[in-house]
């Protein structure tokens, strides 16, 4: 945390210093009524928001995992897309989410977290269809595969 606390009047007289402090991480400004305000790079704010959101989600999912039955859509809320997974996949998602959160926190970058969420969402959508689900989750049976005939395009 920065030791320097700017006054609200510094926003006019020390504009460059305030912005430089904010650019480096954060600029603390004391308002006239004593309220402490912080200016920080937007990317940092977005990181903190994302980490908060997904740590909360992780804690909720961890709690749901301790129940005997898999969580219902209503319990999952905006994470209801997870309902297509069986318990093993659900546990794997929660474990990978934890790893991604720790990595994102250490990296100060949500790239690994974003990739994790996207890949699991894609997987969930692929599993929504019973036929796709049976092929993706089933064993490889060579007799089920054939050569593809050449499709003829409209172009």
């Amino acid at each position: 945390m920065s030791d320097v606390i700017f006054q609200s009047s510094d926003l006019a007289t020390k504009r460059t210093e305030v912005l430089e402090a904010a650019r480096k991480g954060q600029a603390r400004v004391r308002d006239k009524d004593g309220t402490s305000l912080v200016m920080l790079p937007e990317s940092r704010l977005r990181l903190l928001e994302a980490l908060t959101k997904w740590w909360q989600a992780y804690m909720k999912l961890e709690a749901l995992l301790h129940k005997n039955e898999l969580p219902r859509a209503a319990e999952l809320g905006e994470l209801a897309w997870l309902r297509v997974f069986d318990r093993a996949d659900f546990q794997e998602f929660v474990s990978e989410l934890h790893d991604a959160l720790v990595a994102a926190n250490a990296d100060e970058d949500t790239a690994v977290l974003d990739e994790c969420i996207k890949a699991w969402r894609v997987t969930a959508r692929q599993l929504e269809d019973p036929l796709r689900r049976s092929v993706l989750n089933g064993p490889f049976v060579s007799e089920h595969y054939i050569e593809a005939n050449e499709p003829h395009g409209a172009e």
Partner: protein, 129 residues
């Protein structure tokens, strides 16, 4: 287009639209239940993108495509189908066409068969995400 025959390891898959510029390194197989989807690919996404997909999987299925987005499926759906098989790769041919495949560099149809590289198209999904 109707399925023609069961998988014959001596017959390579066909490239959509025209002859490939390079000899395919991998034979391309399609799950029977998605053969009709595959036959629609060029009409659905255009011949250029269909060929780009085919060229990618027949030449270099294990590396990222320079244009299309790919990712590994997670959980059981993403695990290799057996020894030597890759994880399941999710390939976005377009915003409304996605293909899941695995590849194996040493695939054999029989225990003492001749190992050869194949790509198995597991599923094709034409619904937009």
């Amino acid at each position: 287009m109707a399925p023609s025959s069961a998988y014959d390891p001596n017959v390579p898959a066909k490239r959509p639209g025209s002859k490939p510029d390079r000899r395919p390194k991998y034979r391309v197989l399609v799950h029977k239940r998605f053969l009709s989807h595959y036959s629609e690919l060029a009409d659905r996404v255009g011949i250029k993108q269909a060929q780009q997909f085919w060229d990618h999987v027949s030449q270099d299925p294990g590396n990222p495509d320079p244009i299309a987005q790919t990712c590994y499926l997670r959980g059981q759906a993403g695990r290799p189908k057996g020894p030597g098989w890759s994880r399941t790769i999710h390939y976005e041919v377009s915003s409304s066409a996605r293909i899941d495949y695995q590849y194996c560099d040493t695939y054999t149809t029989e225990p003492d068969g001749d190992p050869h590289p194949v790509v198995a198209i597991l599923t094709i999904n034409y619904s937009s995400h």
